[in-house]
């Protein structure tokens, strides 16, 4: 087990290497010149070139990549081209709210989604199933910025219950987490349902019934655990996406998360920040996948890691 984890983590390193190269290539492929964007509209060519030189952007690409990798190896993510703030500090400030929001979103989505999925599976093709599935699927069918805008109109403006945005209090997390979690809830509910429906057709369920277990015991005690295996994968994947932040939801709710940092950095072509953030996303994503795999093993005893 330990060996497996170590092996997997070591396996991440070459992958990150490839990713770092791809990211570097990607952001330099996207048109745009940070020097010009920093310099503002008044600047002339001379000034832009001076800024370029100061930022080493006038050096050949391969050299920029080598410098970047060299810094990376020394644990230095560089500093923002625009604000001169160290990238680690910039990301550090954003990652905590983003992480909290992701956790909250996935938590409620998981609980409600699994519950709806169970109810739907038990009452398959009957009205509770239909209602449950329509509710769940509604969550994945709404443009989430629309959901966010409408929620603000209702809960902040009309009812005055929740702040329109910001995270000064924990209440600031509620609406963004609903907007973010709705789609995930839907996905989890659907996966739980189909997975549970499938499991309930398994022979061992019949065995359970033949032993006189009640329906609830069968569902919760016997079927649920194996049904959750694919659900965990989906949830893990979605959590990985969540960590990347949502540009749209963060914009609607003025939420200081990774998504807005990313879009702002992209708009400013703030290469060090974009690079670091994308590297972090990839790393988080791979890490979440690893955790999902381990969780998989916990849920499914057939899997052994060696």
């Amino acid at each position: 087990m330990k060996k497996y984890i170590v092996k997997r983590i070591l396996g991440i390193i070459p992958l990150l290497f490839v990713v770092s190269f791809l990211i570097f290539l990607f952001i330099h492929l996207v048109p745009g010149d940070p020097a010009r964007l920093i310099a503002g509209k008044d600047a002339d060519l001379q000034q832009i070139n001076a800024i370029k030189h100061q930022l080493h952007l006038d050096e050949p690409l391969y050299k920029q990549y080598i410098d970047y990798m060299n810094n990376l190896f020394h644990g230095n993510l560089g500093e923002s081209i625009k604000s001169k703030v160290p990238v680690s500090e910039l990301i550090g400030e954003r990652i905590v709210p983003s992480l909290e929001l992701s956790l909250l979103s996935i938590a409620w989505a998981m609980v409600i989604g699994v519950l709806i999925g169970i109810i739907s599976a038990i009452f398959k093709n009957r009205w509770p199933d239909n209602i449950g599935m329509i509710t769940a699927v509604s969550g994945i069918s709404l443009p989430n910025f629309w959901l966010g805008l409408v929620m603000i109109q209702i809960f902040s403006v009309k009812l005055g219950l929740l702040p329109t945005g910001g995270i000064e209090t924990w209440k600031g997390y509620l609406m963004p987490s609903i907007a973010l979690g709705a789609g995930i809830m839907a996905m989890i509910a659907r996966f739980t349902r189909s997975s549970l429906v499938q499991t309930l057709k398994e022979d061992f369920i019949r065995t359970g019934r033949s032993r006189g277990y009640s329906g609830l015991t069968i569902v919760f005690g016997h079927a649920l655990r194996s049904s959750l295996i694919p659900v965990v994968t989906v949830a893990g994947l979605q959590f990985g996406f969540l960590l990347g932040g949502s540009i749209v939801v963060e914009t609607v709710f003025s939420f200081p998360g990774m998504g807005r940092l990313l879009i702002n950095s992209i708009q400013m072509r703030d290469y060090p920040v974009v690079q670091a953030e994308l590297m972090l996303f990839s790393f988080e994503f791979i890490l979440v996948n690893l955790i999902v795999d381990l969780l998989y093993g916990f849920l499914n005893p057939k899997i052994r890691y060696d």
């Binding site: 309930l200 057709k201 398994e202 022979d203 061992f204 019949r206 065995t207 359970g208 019934r209 033949s210 032993r211 006189g212 277990y213 009640s214 005690g221 016997h222 655990r225 194996s226 849920l299 499914n300 005893p301 057939k302």
Partner: protein
């Protein structure tokens, strides 16, 4: 009348696109305490459905008992509430299934699967239930009973798993054990061991066993009495000896003919020509008529009744009964 289970005129239908299709139509048989009764027939003859109906395990399928009674001891199982039925399942009637690979919960340890039912039905505490579970595993001949308690099904071989299934089924000491093709999925040598085990349990515990199988060899080896089913009907019932010595129904004869015999070096094994009729389009008359070598005109017109002679032997064939007999029976 048998003193444990009596199935009378059982009729089971499945719903398919708003049509109701009878797959079991008039099944009668019974089991006495401590007896091993086999139900044989080709797949699709309704034998498994019959066994499931005794347990009322049609959950999640469109199957439904549409007629007849299932008398277990004093109760008609079809009349019980679901809650009352749950008290019977596993405790008084237990069941083992064909597929030992999939009939155990893959994500639950063996011990837990045993203990759960014991605690539920016998009202023991966890420790006592554990004791009982280990004892059961020993009963079914599992060598390292204690350590297997902590293993998952996938770590065991097929034979071992079927033993575990039997242990689970026997764990609450039921009076009737229904075994639906318990050996079909196993190697021949393992098959024999499992059948031995079931006979041993019947001997030692006095459990009655209803053995559902398509394999006459299995029947010959373990049963006291045999019910032969064809197309949702009982066509013949006899003791094992009688059946093999003098099968009355042409279908039974065909079945026995098709069992490979040691020393028989025939090029090809005998098989009954033709197909089982489609339950959606059942012919009138005897359902076996289209495949019967002795078919008569009457066979195609009217279906014979299941007729019993004095010593309890029954058959459903115009060769062995006349219309008069039938009329007499109807009158009487």
């Amino acid at each position: 009348m048998h003193n444990l289970l009596n199935v009378n005129n059982l009729q089971i239908a499945f719903r398919k696109r708003k049509k109701s299709i009878k797959v079991v139509n008039g099944v009668d048989f019974g089991i006495s305490k401590g007896e091993i009764v086999g139900i044989v027939g080709e797949s699709g003859c309704g034998k498994s459905v019959t066994s499931l109906s005794i347990m009322r395990l049609f959950h999640d399928t469109s199957g439904e008992v549409v007629g007849g009674t299932i008398q277990f001891k004093e109760k008609d199982l079809l009349e019980l509430s679901e809650r009352e039925m749950r008290r019977i399942r596993g405790k008084e009637i237990a069941m083992i299934f064909q597929e030992p690979m999939t009939s155990l919960n893959p994500v639950m340890k063996i011990g837990k699967q045993l203990i759960q039912g014991i605690m539920l039905h016998l009202g023991l505490n966890r420790e006592e239930a554990k004791q009982q579970a280990v004892e059961m595993l020993k009963l079914v001949g599992i060598p390292r009973a204690e350590s297997i308690m902590n293993e998952y099904p996938h770590q065991l071989s097929g034979g071992m798993r079927q033993r575990v299934m039997i242990a689970i089924a026997m764990s609450c000491e039921p009076e009737l054990l229904i075994a639906d093709e318990p050996t079909t999925a196993l190697d021949v040598t393992i098959q024999a061991q499992i059948l031995q085990l079931m006979k041993k349990i019947q001997r030692e515990r006095g459990t009655a066993i209803l053995l559902i199988t398509h394999d006459l060899g299995v029947v010959a080896e373990s049963c006291d009495r045999v019910v032969v089913m064809y197309a949702g009907r009982v066509v013949e019932e006899a003791t094992v000896e009688e059946l093999f010595e003098s099968p009355l129904h042409p279908y039974t004869q065909g079945l026995i003919e098709s069992v490979p015999k040691i020393g028989n070096r025939k090029e090809e094994l005998y098989s009954i020509p033709g197909h089982v009729p489609n339950p959606e389009a059942m012919p009138n008359g005897c359902k076996f008529a289209s495949r019967c070598p002795y078919v008569m005109d009457i066979c195609r017109e009217r279906e014979p009744q299941l007729v019993s002679n004095n010593n309890g032997r029954k058959q459903r064939c115009w060769l062995h009964q006349s219309i008069k007999e039938e009329e007499r029976k109807t009158i009487g």
